[in-house]
Structure formats: structure tokens, C-alpha cells
């Protein structure tokens, strides 16, 4: 149960619905309210009213791309039209509902996202393409007062499609941060997923300080395994959360881990550990 409330906490919908949990939206919302979380994120549009009914925010919206949402992204010109159109539509919906952020991805590095044999987009080219796409979205998002948050994902964990994403081009937080810096818009920021950063890059606290001006949203999960934030994993979350306070981070922290034991207990522990 949240007591301090200096970190605004959120729960990722898919972790409690598309996993062994299979909770419906009301159960997720009720749990969030009971724990003192302020938001449910990455919620399908049809459930937005249900979330609002519980007086919860939706900290980040999906961009409307089909699953897996991170496959076809802005690194690839052949998907620009579709990603931008769907994201603009989501931005409209976000603006109507007062949702602050919409997610964005670089996408897979392959020329055809569905075919790993199709050749690769060079890293520098992928960055340049992503900057272009985000710059276009920034103009629209600015008018609607919505922020686009670019997520880095780990490509290292190959054990489970829910834990790692081999082939994702933006797997290096420094690469993604440089893209965001180049776009140079207050409406395009970094989604700093502590689990993915700790898995791919490490040096989490230094990087939070380094990118303090560019961080729009934060995710958590235990390393390795995308499990609970407990003593079975290697990241000392309270110190990381205190760093967020130190840098003046104003956004939400979304718990995005796959519970391996009683989810209510796991969420309560995560919430308490991040309530610094």
C-alpha cells in the first residue's frame, strides 16, 4: 500500500491479463486502487472507460499497432505510414481522454519485420529513420499535448517472447536516447524500462541522471527473468527509485513484470519497495 506517494505508480495491463493471471480489467483496477497505484497502462482502448470509472489514469497508451506492437516501427520507412497513422489516431484518443503518453518503438532491425532473412537496416539508418518518424509525430503530439515515449527493449533474453525481443533494433538505451535527443522535442521522450536497461546496458543510476531531461516514462521488472522486484533478482529498486526523486522525475513508474507467485502479494511488495 502506497504511503509516501512520491513515486506515482502504475500497473501494466498485459502482465496481469495476458499471462497466467488472466485478470479482467475490473480486477486489475480494483487491485490498483487498493494498493494506492494511480494508473493502469497499456490498456486496450475498449477498457479505457472502465479504468476511468475507477478514477485511475492511463499513464501510457499503446500506439494501435497489431501484436507484437514493437515489431513494425519507425526505423523502417516501409512502416512509417501505418505507424504514424495509427499513432496519430491514438494521440487523438489520448487527447480526448487526458492520457499523457503514447508509446513508440524502433521496431525490428530486419528490412521485412516478419522475415529475419530479409537483411538488416543499418543501425545509423534505423536511427535516422526513427528520428524522422518521431519528428513528424512530435508536431502532431505537440498540438494535442500528448507525449510520445520511445521504448528500448532487450534483445538478450531469448527464453520467452514476453521477456526479451531478439531482433529489436533499439536494444541499446544510449542509441534510443540519442534518437530522442536528435528529435529535440518536449513531446518526444524516452521510456526508460529499468529491466530492459539493466539487461542490456547496466549502469542504471548513472544513466537515469544522464538522461534526466529526456525520460518520459519508467518501467520496472526483476532482473533476470522479468519477475517480481523482490530479493530473488539483482536490481536494488529502492535506490533506483530514490534516484528518480533526486532527478525530479514527474512521470509514472509502471510495474511491468510477470508474477511468478501470488500476484496480489507480488504487486504489494513491488509497490512498497518503490514507495520511497
Amino acid at each position: 500500500m502506497v504511503r509516501n506517494g512520491r513515486i506515482r505508480q502504475s500497473l501494466a495491463y498485459w502482465c496481469l491479463n495476458a499471462t497466467a493471471c488472466k485478470w479482467d480489467i475490473n480486477r486489475i483496477c480494483e487491485t490498483a486502487v487498493r494498493l494506492g497505484c494511480l494508473s493502469i497502462e497499456l490498456v486496450p482502448t475498449e477498457f479505457w472507460p472502465a479504468v476511468r470509472k475507477h478514477q485511475l489514469q492511463i499513464a501510457v497508451a499503446h500506439n494501435g499497432m497489431p501484436e507484437p506492437v514493437f515489431a513494425k516501427g519507425l526505423n523502417n520507412p516501409r512502416y512509417h505510414e501505418e505507424v504514424i497513422a495509427r499513432t496519430r489516431q491514438t494521440i487523438d484518443q489520448c487527447a480526448d481522454c487526458g492520457i499523457p503518453n503514447v508509446i513508440a518503438f524502433t521496431g525490428y532491425k530486419w528490412i521485412d519485420a516478419d522475415d529475419p532473412e530479409s537483411g538488416e537496416i543499418a543501425l545509423a539508418q534505423g536511427a535516422e529513420n526513427t528520428v524522422k518518424g518521431l519528428a513528424e509525430l512530435a508536431r502532431y503530439a505537440g498540438e494535442k499535448r500528448v507525449t510520445v515515449v520511445l521504448e528500448q527493449l532487450n534483445s538478450r533474453d531469448q527464453s520467452d517472447p514476453m521477456k526479451g525481443h531478439p531482433g529489436y533494433q533499439g536494444d541499446d538505451i544510449d542509441y534510443c536516447a540519442e534518437i530522442v535527443r536528435q528529435v529535440g522535442s518536449p513531446r518526444v521522450k524516452l521510456l526508460f524500462d529499468i529491466y530492459h536497461v539493466a539487461t542490456m546496458n547496466g549502469d542504471v543510476i548513472r544513466r537515469l541522471r544522464q538522461y534526466r531531461d529526456w525520460i518520459g516514462h519508467v518501467h520496472t521488472a526483476g532482473v533476470p527473468g522479468r519477475c517480481e522486484l523482490d530479493d530473488q533478482q539483482e536490481i536494488h529498486y529502492p535506490a533506483v527509485m530514490r534516484t528518480l526523486l533526486e532527478i525530479g522525475y514527474q512521470g509514472y513508474v509502471g510495474h511491468e513484470f510477470i508474477p511468478t507467485r501470488d500476484p496480489v502479494e507480488a504487486l504489494a511488495q513491488a509497490v512498497e519497495c518503490c514507495d520511497v
Binding site: D157, T199, M200, N201, V223, E234, A239
Partner: protein, 270 residues
């Protein structure tokens, strides 16, 4: 009180103090330079240390006096000038042979060594040179039962341009050298700065690791509440792999040094 008395009794004997928990812990001498070696060893033995790291032959008898092991020794090795350049090989071979012999005589288990800085050398070429160089000394290490530990260091903050700065690179070298007596020193502090994913990396590469170092990230201070790793979990993961070497604390204390060391030892007693 009884436990403390027993620990002191052991410390005066010729064999090393039994480690508290499953891991043998050590402390780097240089982090406690303001404390006499006698004091460090006496208090270290009391708190459950098994060894002292990065110590020279003159200090070995003092360390032994308290039942501790000089866990790793450096000799003349220097971080920027190492095995990645062929022109260093003759010199390094002579130096390390001498050091291995002395270590063997005194039953010092490990000798540290370094890749050297890149100075424009490609990672591939540096790797090939390290393999060639370390192959030259593997037999003497094997014959003497001393392990040569190639250290992984961060090149981002502390050792700019150091070549052995990623586990995968170091593992390639160790695999190719192919000796039970040439392995990696996996410095957890340095590798959290360079690449993260500590527990998975240790699990996947434990057969190539002979020694560990600790240090809070990012500041290289205490393993406390202000830094980003859960050391107890990491220590458990290492102990669960039945690791038989030493895990040595190598952080710069910001508070009372011996209190900080004691806290680290307690934390890693698993």
C-alpha cells in the same frame, strides 16, 4: 561472544579461518590503505574474511599470521600495458613466471593480469594477441597450480580504453587459451557499469571465472542502500553455482572502513 572467541582462536592458527557461509570472502588491501595490515587482517578474520586481495610477498607472512590467505597478487602487472600487444609478451612472460613461482611456494592461489589498453588496436587483434600471450604461460601456471586471472574492467569511467571490458571478449580469450589455470576475474562493479545482466552472465560463464570483485554501482563505495545492485542475491547466485574461489570486496569506504567492510561481509554471507 562465544562465536567471536572461536573466530579469534582460529585466526591465530596456521590455516585460514572457515568462511562464514558458502563463499570465501576477501578484501582488497588498497581500499584500506590507512589501516595497518595487522589491523585489517585481525579484524578481517574476526568478521569472517578468508583472504586479502592484491598483496605483495612482503605482506604474505602477516596475512598468514591471522589465518588468512593472500587471495590474489599482482606483481608488476599494469592495467594499460598487457597481453594485447605482442611486444609486451616477453616481458610479461618473465614477470608472471616469477610471480607464479613465488605464489606457488607460498600457496597463493591467484595471480592477476590485464589485457592492456586498446590504443587503436582492434578488439579482434587484441584478442588474438592476448590468446597467444596467455598460451605461453598456461603450462607454468598449470604445473604450479596457480590460476592467472585476466581482469574485466570498465572502460567507461575508471579505465578508459582498457580492452578487456566485456565478458564476451574475455570469455573468448579464456576459451581459446583453454587452461584450467587461466581464467577471468569478473569484477561485478565494472561489469554492471559496462553491460549489466550480472546474474545471467555469471551463470552462463561460471566455468571461465576464477575470482570476483565487488563494489557499489555507480560510486564504487559501500554495497549499501544507495547503490543499484542487490549484492546478497548476486552472492547467493554465485554460491548456488558451487563457486570455490574468492569474492573480494573492492570498494572505497566513505564511512568507518571496518564497519563498511563488516557490513559487506555480512551481506555476502549466504
Amino acid at each position: 561472544m562465544i562465536t567471536a572467541g572461536l573466530a579469534l582462536g582460529q585466526a591465530s592458527g596456521p590455516v585460514s579461518a572457515a568462511p562464514a557461509g558458502r563463499l570465501k570472502q576477501s578484501a582488497a588491501r588498497w581500499c584500506y590503505s590507512k589501516i595497518s595490515l595487522d589491523d585489517l587482517c585481525r579484524q578481517g578474520a574476526e568478521m569472517g574474511l578468508s583472504g586479502i586481495d592484491l598483496v605483495e610477498p612482503d605482506d604474505w607472512p602477516t596475512i598468514r599470521k591471522y589465518g588468512l590467505v593472500p587471495a590474489i597478487t599482482q606483481g608488476k602487472s599494469s592495467i594499460p600495458d598487457g597481453w594485447n600487444r605482442k611486444e609486451n609478451h616477453d616481458r610479461l612472460e618473465n614477470e608472471i613466471k616469477d610471480r607464479i613461482t613465488r605464489a606457488a611456494e607460498a600457496k597463493v592461489p591467484n595471480v592477476i593480469t590485464f589485457s592492456g589498453n586498446r590504443r587503436g588496436l582492434s578488439d579482434q587483434e587484441g584478442k588474438e594477441n592476448c590468446i597467444l600471450g596467455l598460451r605461453r604461460i598456461k603450462k607454468i601456471a598449470e604445473d604450479n597450480g596457480v590460476t592467472v586471472c585476466l581482469e574485466l574492467l570498465n572502460s567507461k569511467v575508471n579505465h578508459k580504453d582498457y580492452q578487456c571490458d566485456h565478458t564476451a571478449w574475455g570469455v573468448d580469450v579464456i576459451k581459446a587459451v583453454d587452461s584450467p589455470r587461466v581464467k577471468l576475474l569478473y569484477d561485478i562493479y565494472h561489469m554492471q557499469i559496462m553491460e549489466g545482466d550480472i546474474i545471467r552472465t555469471i551463470r552462463e560463464n561460471i566455468q571461465y571465472i576464477a575470482h570476483f570483485h565487488t563494489g557499489g554501482v555507480p560510486g564504487r563505495h559501500e554495497l549499501d542502500d544507495t547503490q543499484e545492485l542487490q549484492w546478497r542475491t548476486v552472492a547467493k547466485a554465485i554460491a548456488d553455482l558451487n563457486f570455490q574461489g574468492y569474492i573480494a570486496h573492492e570498494f572505497v569506504p566513505t564511512r568507518d572502513p571496518m564497519t563498511s567492510l563488516r557490513e559487506a561481509v555480512t551481506l555476502c554471507t549466504v
